[in-house]
């Protein structure tokens, strides 16, 4: 998976997947958010009902139509600095699982433009504490690959192995994998083998196979 997800990819995906009604709703919602940022509090939860929730192929990594719609709503916020951070934190804090995932996805896309810096990292850490595979996977997108420290990133990768999230869904793994992470993956594989349990195939991309 590439380390970047761009706004162009997101808007192209919406153009492919939105119905006319969905597109009209989203255009009106964007216009409202750009003039009245607090309106995002009621528009953000409604995005799935108006735009749909189906899986899409691009951007890669398990995106859905509502993730894409929520991303463009966040990108529309006429805010910077602490005001932007506070609004994004509120969307996450009061969001249901779909909204939380939308925020996590959006961080990767809007970060280069809106200059979030480290401000979204507490949200990633919250998501990585859950056992919800949708949130864990979204927290390990390009924003996580850029901003999570090594210890948190390694723990996130191990958590994917434990919960069955394909390693291919994690952004930046080829770049961020280090000796310590390989050791942790190897120990995980040994533990599974000792227990007579299945080892996910994708581990062997990073750990030397015992049969090799």
């Amino acid at each position: 998976m590439t380390v970047e997800t761009t706004m162009d990819e997101v808007t192209a995906a919406l153009a492919r997947h939105l119905t006319d009604d969905g597109a009209a709703w989203l255009a009106a919602a964007r216009a409202r958010v750009s003039g009245e940022p607090a309106a995002i509090e009621v528009l953000f939860p409604a995005a799935g009902r108006h735009c749909g929730r189906g899986r899409i192929e691009e951007p890669a990594g398990g995106w859905t139509v509502d993730d894409a719609a929520r991303t463009v709503l966040i990108a529309e916020l006429p805010l910077t600095g602490p005001a932007l951070t506070e609004t994004i934190e509120g969307l996450y804090r009061y969001g249901d699982a779909g909204e939380k995932r939308g925020v996590l996805r959006a961080l990767s896309v809007v970060d280069p433009v809106m200059k979030l810096g480290e401000s979204g990292v507490p949200l990633l850490r919250d998501a990585l504490r859950t056992n919800d595979t949708r949130l864990i996977a979204a927290a390990l997108g390009p924003y996580g690959a850029r901003h999570l420290d090594a210890a948190a990133y390694r723990q996130g990768v191990l958590k994917c192995l434990f919960t069955g999230i394909p390693l291919a869904d994690i952004a930046g793994l080829d770049r961020r994998v280090d000796d310590e992470l390989v050791r942790m993956m190897s120990d995980f594989a040994q533990e599974r083998i000792a227990a007579g349990r299945v080892v996910p195939d994708d581990v062997w991309r990073f750990v030397p196979s015992p049969e090799a």
């Binding site: 409604a46 699982a97 056992n131 949708r134 394909p166």
Partner: protein, 291 residues
């Protein structure tokens, strides 16, 4: 016989994955979990916020692992409406009533019929009208008959359409006034208290199957999440047809909660369950714990 079952009132937060498996095997495909008392009283708004987050986050995810669609009803319950430390729940509730999985306001109603309960009940009926949501109303265990009549008065005064209201936990003595009010009638089938499946069948024989709902109301007390199925079997044994069972256990609850416009009964293939959930069969189903 194969039954499709929608349990319109069950507290899955208090139940195990064994229950989810048994429910799925019995035919349960969709549920509504109303917000209620957890056995241990809460003392702050934050406790409710975390509970509501679970009902729109973790619990639907857990249910999805077993092929069951989870929806919820949210409210400040009548018992805890009496604690002034919890009154602020009503201020955060509107934000949650906008969520996708929230298909009703509930459980609201009376516990001890105090002035605080009057205020919370009336205010939440107004919220239901504002958010265009139906309502699930609990009737009190103590002084049930008088409490049910008073409940129907409050519902009438609120101006909400009776067909958008469920009055729950009914029995032989409270069913008729609810029937006459135009509200939906719900019965909680318990191992030994509120109502059992044999008595339920007699009520269906006497009052018919229209606007009738059957739930397990299973929670942290002695209760059984398969009582919906048991009621369906008791109906068949008493001579009801398969179509009658399907009406009571599926089409009635679907018709009621569809009034929210938010009921999602599609198969679990959309975005809320990632490929990860079934990746090589590895998931909560296999007991994986990320801790």
């Amino acid at each position: 016989m194969a039954m499709r079952i929608f349990d319109p009132h069950i507290h899955m937060t208090s139940r195990t994955t064994d229950d989810y498996e048994a429910m799925r095997d019995a035919g349960v495909r969709a549920i509504v979990e109303p917000a209620f008392w957890l056995g241990q009283p809460r003392t702050s708004v934050g406790s409710f916020v975390d509970y509501f987050d679970g009902l729109v986050g973790w619990e639907p995810f857990r249910a999805g692992q077993f092929g069951i669609r989870h929806h919820c009803a949210l409210a400040l319950n009548p018992k805890e409406a009496n604690d002034p430390r919890c009154a602020g729940v009503l201020d955060v509730l509107p934000r949650y009533l906008a969520k996708d999985g929230v298909v009703a306001v509930g459980e609201v109603g009376y516990d001890s019929m105090t002035p605080e309960e009057d205020e919370a009940f009336a205010r939440q009926l107004r919220m239901a009208i504002e958010h265009d949501l139906p309502v699930l109303v609990h009737t009190p265990h103590r002084d049930k008959h008088a409490g049910t009549l008073r409940t129907l008065d409050v519902v009438r005064e609120s101006g909400i359409a009776p067909e958008r209201v469920i009055v729950d936990h009914l029995n032989e003595l409270t069913v008729r006034p609810v029937l006459e009010s135009g509200c939906w009638m719900a019965f909680s089938i318990y191992p030994d208290t509120k109502m059992d499946e044999v008595r339920m069948v007699r009520i269906l024989q006497e009052y018919g199957t229209e606007r009738m709902l059957v739930n397990s109301a299973a929670d942290w007390g002695r209760s059984d999440p398969l009582k919906t199925r048991a009621t369906g079997e008791a109906m068949l044994a008493a001579g009801f047809g398969e179509d009658d069972v399907d009406l009571v256990l599926w089409r009635n609850p679907v018709a009621f909660f569809a009034q929210s416009g938010r009921l999602d009964l599609s198969e679990q293939s959309e975005g809320d369950i990632d490929a990860a959930a079934t990746f090589e069969g590895n998931s909560i189903l296999r007991g994986a714990r990320a801790g």
